[in-house]
């Protein structure tokens, strides 16, 4: 049976570059991703980490930068730190960013999921991506996404 896949598409009134940079800039991440941030040198093959902004030793998700092609494509492997290296518990996130008649379409495909991670990310991506859009369009993110969430993700 194929592993589940999650897809979310959102259109944002901002250039592709700004959308791409907002995904990898810790100062922006913390505003819309529950006070967490994404850390890496963002070169293909490098390690990346999703960590608490204020205590970066608290890593909640980690993986490898599979592809990094600013501003159109970013592909990451995605696992809990304790599951790193376990293919059954490693999923993949593909961010595709393209211009569509003056707006930017961001497509997030999160696939190769196990059921526990599917449940976690299905509740996570809509508020995170809704808030990213609000941040880029209004200059301020949605307040509830500036705080840490109980799940720590």
């Amino acid at each position: 049976m194929p592993k589940p896949e999650y897809v979310y598409v959102i259109y944002i009134d901002a250039p592709c570059e700004k959308v791409f940079d907002a995904l990898i800039d810790p100062e922006m991440n913390k505003e819309y991703w529950g006070r967490h941030c994404n850390l890496s040198d963002w070169k293909t093959g490098s390690r990346w980490q999703h960590a608490d902004y204020d205590d970066r030793s608290k890593v909640v998700v980690t993986g490898t930068v599979i592809e990094s092609d600013r501003p159109h494509r970013l592909v990451l492997s995605w696992a809990r730190p304790e599951s790193l290296g376990d293919p059954d518990k490693t999923s993949r996130v593909t961010f595709s960013i393209d211009e569509q008649f003056g707006s930017t379409r961001l497509t997030v495909v999160h696939d190769e999921l196990d059921t526990e991670m599917l449940r976690a990310i299905s509740g996570g991506w809509p508020p995170i991506l809704s808030s990213l859009k609000t941040l880029l369009e209004t200059g301020e993110s949605l307040p509830m996404t500036r705080r840490r969430w109980k799940s720590g993700n």
């Binding site: 959102i10 259109y11 009134d13 003056g102 809704s130 859009k133 369009e137 307040p143 509830m144």
Partner: protein, 153 residues
């Protein structure tokens, strides 16, 4: 094998009353919904139509549930020949206030297996709901022309 079902969740900085108005007032929908004016008296069992700017009807169905400002459900099918062997599918909007935000969950179900309508609405809703979020939060909708959705057909 489960039948296809489309689910989209977005968080909008607005009130449930304003969001309800945005979903049911034809003059307002014309500003963010690819120019479509929704036409209905919103009584259960009444007709529901999407009216293009030239006055022709693109999609039609019936109101199934109307409980302002919490739940709205209607069926519709696009009237073009492309979908002539398919039936109206049920779209349900659930509005849940969440502090200063409203969580909007759209579910559409009841598609013919192997039909094309599911693929059509899967492209349309993210653009419509992204534009809805923009107009409520910034006052300006996204300028996504309808043609943008046909590019990858």
């Amino acid at each position: 094998m489960s039948k296809p079902e489309f689910i989209y969740v977005t968080y909008i900085e607005t009130t449930a009353e304003k969001l309800w108005h945005a979903l049911t007032d034809g003059e307002f929908t014309a500003r963010y919904w690819f120019g479509a004016r929704l036409r209905s008296d919103w009584k259960v069992g009444s007709s529901f139509e999407m009216v293009r700017s030239d006055g022709t009807v693109s999609d039609a169905g019936k109101v199934v549930e109307c409980d302002p400002p919490r739940r709205l459900a209607y069926t519709f099918i696009n009237l073009s020949d492309k979908y002539k062997n398919e039936f109206p599918a049920l779209a349900t909007f659930v509005l849940e206030p969440y502090g200063k935000l409203v969580k909007l969950t759209l579910t559409q179900e009841g598609f013919v297996e192997g039909g094309k309508f599911y693929a059509g609405i899967s492209k349309g809703w993210p653009a419509i709901l992204s534009s809805l979020k923009s107009i409520l939060e910034t006052g300006t909708p996204l300028e996504i022309p309808f043609e943008a959705l046909k590019m990858n057909d």
